[in-house]
Symmetry: C2
Subunit: 266 residues, 2 copies
């Protein structure tokens, strides 16, 4: 157990309480420069320079704070410098559906793009910092730098692809598959950011995960325990280590013969 805690995740550690109000107190956490922003990923040469010449404001968001709420007038996109967020779609009677988790380098707010309003609510899961990118600025810039329009489209379709991935997770009927898929997804995203894919901190509660995956928080907890008992992972509160990636993948790949589509039986 000590081993887990000794592995210091670079992102996502719970911070000490929010002491002084409205302080731009920078945390010892990787802060993404403009160069690392999702939108600039595919920009080259002078397009990149032009983009980086724009000074975007950044904002510190305290754990639990809402960056925007569903129904708010759409105005800005947000790129995460550090920290993590969840987005959720509010339903009637306080029911809500968590639609995604976002981490450093991710872009969110895209769903408000076409309409005049955001569809989802974005909440910080820990003290975080975001770049604020006014949409008006982005569009103006996109007209000037066509490759930025491409980047924007690219981000949109990436977000679409992401949501398709979630649908696949939710479409599987077993809780184990959903949880395994969820963990592997988180792992890959950490890896892509140059962080450890095998040991990281879960920024969200079991309830968030369960809501996201369409299962109860108890089932999430039990599944974690089962995976741990099977030697696939090690969990202690928010600290997670993936011990056997292939094992998790095997759970997803489990061939569940579909009736009518099976071969060999006559």
């Amino acid at each position: 157990m000590a081993t887990i805690l000794s592995i210091r995740p670079q992102v996502g550690l719970r911070l000490q309480k929010a002491a002084t109000p409205a302080e731009s107190r920078d945390v010892a956490r990787p802060i993404y420069a403009p160069r690392e922003m999702a939108l600039s990923a595919s920009l080259r040469g002078e397009d990149l320079e032009r983009f980086e010449s724009v000074k975007f404001a950044s904002r510190v968001v305290r754990q639990g704070d809402h960056v925007f709420n569903a129904g708010d007038k759409f105005s800005c996109l947000y790129s995460i410098r550090g920290g993590c967020f969840k987005t959720s779609l509010p339903g009637s009677q306080g029911r809500e559906q968590v639609t995604g988790f976002f981490m450093s380098g991710d872009l969110f707010g895209l769903d408000g793009l076409g309409g005049a309003r955001y569809n989802v609510t974005a909440v910080a899961l820990e003290d975080s910092t975001v770049w604020i990118m006014p949409y008006a600025v982005i569009t103006a810039l996109a007209r000037e730098v066509p490759s930025l329009q491409c980047s924007l489209d690219s981000e949109l379709s990436r977000e679409l692809a992401r949501s398709y991935g979630v649908m696949t997770l939710l479409g599987s009927t077993s809780a184990q598959e959903r949880v395994a898929g969820f963990l592997l997804n988180l792992s890959r995203r950490h890896l892509r950011r140059g962080l450890s894919g095998s040991s990281f901190t879960l920024g969200m509660t079991r309830a968030d995960i369960g809501n996201y995956l369409g299962i109860t928080l108890e089932t999430v907890s039990r599944t974690f325990s089962a995976f741990q008992a099977a030697g696939l992972i090690k969990v202690q509160q928010r600290a997670l280590s993936i011990l056997d990636v292939e094992g998790l993948e095997r759970i997803l790949e489990t061939v569940r013969p579909k009736r009518g589509a099976r071969a060999g039986c006559s």
Copy 2:
């Protein structure tokens, strides 16, 4: 009861036969004119005229035919003139996840936009016709007609919002909620097209529905039967009538607040 069928579509639909000689079973099915296309929905005045001046080719797609496959090079968007489609994300071992159903007036192919390839496969659920809109043409036009760029963004975010809606459906843990939500969604979409929202034909199989909703086809069937027994709907094969919209909505609204996922505010 019979009144349902007497509600005629109010929108400017043109009924016309497909002229192709090979058409053995021509159906008197609404064919959407360019004016009804998703992309032109928010265009006005000369922008609309400009858009309509472009002659897009259309293509007849037979039931079961693939318009494009996941992994195909992205090149065109498709707007449905008549008929319906499903899109699905292929998984390993032939497993697939149905990601959406599309009907007349809908736009699909958007998911390939940013990347160079389509993420999903689009299959006709019945003999259908689509407008083929080369992306190159669309982008060129969008530069000329800025409001078209807005329309495009709008469609993208609508698609995103749609997928969030699906996530909400899949996030609910009960099969009844999922099916009720699915039916209400279909109903609304028919209404929005000037068709009857209370009586329509399901273009997809129970297996498709189940895959989409993350439940088995047997559960779909049983749930339909249960709803019918409760007097909420009437089903016979693909023919569906919604007898009690509020009843279905009540199933969704069931005051059983999903636990967890509460935002940090109060």
